[in-house]
């Protein structure tokens, strides 16, 4: 069965500092990869996705992620965070031949400290 591991459940970081949120997945075959953000009391919003092509993917709000097939990782990064980035971040994968079914990680709570 497919699994997604987000290694850090909580990440505190000071405002304007860089941040990396880690995501690893268990699959030996190609998958589609996503990062979603969830602000308090709201639904999930797509930050970025990797379907194919360049391994460096740029998303909204200054976020980017790099697909590393050999390490089965898809870490999310931002060079300088803002207070408004405080939210829950979910990594998700779609394995092949699953009818586009998402498998989500357990989430990382990012807290930006002023």
């Amino acid at each position: 069965a497919q699994s997604v591991t987000q290694l850090d459940s909580q990440v505190p970081v000071f405002e304007e500092a860089p941040v990396e949120l880690r995501c690893n997945y268990s699959s030996s075959v190609s998958v589609y990869l996503f990062w979603y953000v969830q602000y308090p009391n709201q639904g999930l919003q797509l930050l970025l996705k990797y379907l194919s092509g360049s391994t460096l993917v740029k998303g909204i709000n200054g976020f980017e992620a790099e697909f590393n097939k050999s390490q089965t990782s898809f870490h999310l990064r931002k060079p300088s965070v803002h207070i408004s980035d405080t939210a829950e971040y979910f990594c998700a994968v779609i394995p092949p031949n699953t009818g586009n079914q998402f498998y989500f990680g357990t989430g990382t709570s990012l807290t930006v400290i002023p």
């Binding site: 997604v4 589609y32 979603y36 009391n41 709201q42 639904g43 999930l44 919003q45 797509l46 996705k49 379907l51 979910f90 998700a92 779609i94 009818g99 586009n100 079914q101 998402f102 989500f104 990680g105 357990t106 989430g107």
Partner: protein, 113 residues
Amino acid sequence: EAGVAQSPRYKIIEKRQSVAFWCNPISGHATLYWYQQILGQGPKLLIQFQNNGVVDDSQLPKDRFSAERLKGVDSTLKIQPAKLEDSAVYLCASSLGGGREQYFGPGTRLTVT
């Protein structure tokens, strides 16, 4: 473009009662999903519809949960009877023809006491 709408936003019920959630997807989106998000966990797919047909309901606890999508637009998810462990946020999402980008609604937070 209007997003995915869900109601109610919050619901508190006692165990063994029944409850229903409603979802209106983005106009023209053929695929609709219901997810359960327990506190501290990622969303878990309960059921996926393509138009008004069920594509996947393998993780739906069918002894107490049911869902329908009449006319291939709105959908309702029902729990009867509810258990304490059903306390969660229920998210509805839709996508264009089963595409790989899903759009999520704000969710319904259910508390079972």
